[in-house]
């Protein structure tokens, strides 16, 4: 894209500012939920009984059903609102790709990774939410069957790193946009973000492996 002059702006409205808040708020809610969900599921590392016990308590309080529906709504809103920043047109996508390749800039590549993982998550998280909500309550054996016999092991091998990347990059960028990450603390927070990424990946892959090896009795 080349221009001899910055194009005139359209008239102001509150919409863009509000949508920015919605995008960040729903993203933060989903990131928090993803971490809680992962910690909840990782209780299976202590045995199937631990996960089933937690699930029974949450089911009795209707947290799984109501929370699941709520998260599905938040997920849809976030995907819709955040999509307005994705370069969908072919020419824009090519420009963004060339720009990232030319610049050799880690944070610009991180944004490309966030866009690509968004597509993966949009497809598979939708399916995951549907299969989860139509088969409540969560139980270790049901999840193990899905992972071992339903082919979900390979899907999760793709989705879990995508989720971890999308979540950490999103949180980092929100921190930059709103001034929480400054010139002074940027390197330190980036390092902590990489630790978080590694921790999330380790926990999620260990949990997946546990479901893979859980006896189907």
């Amino acid at each position: 894209m080349e221009t001899d002059c910055i194009a005139p702006a359209r008239p102001r409205s509150r919409a863009d500012g509000l949508l920015d808040w919605v995008q960040m708020g729903t993203g933060a809610a989903l990131a928090l939920f993803a971490c809680m969900h992962m910690i909840f599921l990782s209780s299976v590392l202590f045995g199937a009984g631990a996960l089933n016990g937690l699930s029974a308590v949450m089911d009795a309080l209707h947290i799984e059903t109501l929370g699941g529906i709520g998260i599905a709504v938040v997920f849809c809103i976030h995907a819709t609102v955040a999509a307005r920043k994705i370069p969908f047109k072919a020419a824009q996508a090519v420009t963004a790709w060339r720009h990232a390749r030319l610049l050799h800039h880690p944070e610009t590549w991180a944004w490309v990774a966030q866009v690509l993982t968004a597509f993966i998550l949009a497809v598979f998280i939708t399916i995951h939410i549907w299969t989860g909500l139509t088969d409540l309550p969560v139980q270790a054996l049901k999840s193990a069957v899905r992972v071992q016999l339903g082919g979900w092991f390979w899907v999760f091998l793709l989705v879990l790193p995508a989720l971890a990347l999308h979540l950490v990059i999103g949180a980092w960028r929100a921190g930059v946009k709103w001034g929480l990450i400054t010139r002074e603390n940027r390197a330190d927070i980036t390092r902590k973000g990489l630790y978080l990424l590694g921790g999330f990946l380790c926990l999620s892959l260990l949990t997946l492996l546990r479901f893979r090896l859980l006896p189907l009795e």
């Binding site: 894209m1 080349e2 509000l18 949508l19 824009q92 720009h99 800039h105 946009k177 010139r183």
Partner: protein, 247 residues
């Protein structure tokens, strides 16, 4: 040991219908303390007088010699060849209109940006030519000066992902300009007034927080700090507008 440098330089004359964009290769022996500015001058004087690039001050003050150096926007006069590998690729800055080869027209873009940001002091105070100039705390003056150091080289614009994708984006150079006037106590514009300028996806809400601008700015302007500051300011402004008494 003296190196032989290979320069791959973008060539195109948009005024000539027969011109096809292509890369030309030149060889040049490196000398002590050689900058890209010196190298380009030697190439033009010794090998190809048709090579077009902008320059003026050769001291990192005028911002004319900005170009993409091995992928990164930067100033030719500020870049030592010893910091670069043997092969150097030079491209014109993207986003701006190409004049020819490595020369782009940043002036038109910046003028339009200044008009859009209304880059002047807005005050209702009546001017009294006989009165002494109003005094300002040194701390405030320094803060304004820090934001006023932009040399309009366009490196931040060229490195900005959003500016590369949409021509109506105000870009970091525009934001730091707004921040400069927001910091100036003589400017009587309110947050709501500034929202009319940058409160949109073409403005501060279009910033994706990739920080390439911060990383390439040759004057090390506090772009990251100001982007966060303006986003918070405009984000709170839009929330206030939702309140019945928020204005």
């Amino acid at each position: 040991m003296q190196r032989s440098l290979t320069f791959n330089i973008f060539r195109h004359n948009p005024q000539d219908p027969a011109s096809v964009p292509h890369m030309d290769t030149y060889k040049l022996d490196e000398t002590d303390s050689m900058t890209l500015f010196i190298a380009l001058h030697r190439l033009r004087e010794e090998q190809d007088p048709s090579l077009k690039f902008d320059f003026c001050c050769r001291a990192g003050v005028c911002g004319s010699c900005a170009m993409v150096i091995n992928g990164r926007p930067g100033l030719a006069c500020h870049t030592k060849t010893r910091d670069l590998p043997d092969t150097i690729t030079l491209l014109p800055l993207p986003v701006f209109k190409l004049v020819g080869d490595l020369a782009v027209d940043t002036g038109t873009w910046f003028r339009a940006m200044y008009q859009r940001t209304e880059s002047w002091i807005h005050t209702r105070a009546e001017f009294d030519p006989a009165a002494q100039e109003a005094r300002m705390e040194n701390e405030v003056a320094n803060a304004i000066y820090e934001l006023d150091r932009c040399i309009e080289c366009g490196c931040c614009v060229a490195a900005c992902g959003t500016a590369n994708l949409r021509s109506d984006f105000l870009a970091p150079a525009g934001f730091i300009r707004v921040a400069r006037f927001a910091a100036d106590p003589r400017d009587q514009r309110t947050d709501a007034d500034f929202y009319e300028i940058i409160g949109s996806d073409e403005g501060i809400f279009g910033c994706m927080g990739l920080l390439a601008c911060e990383d390439v700015c040759p004057k090390h302007l506090p772009l990251q700090t100001q982007l966060g500051y303006l986003r918070r300011k405009m984000g709170l402004t839009v929330l206030k507008r939702l309140l019945p008494f928020g204005g």
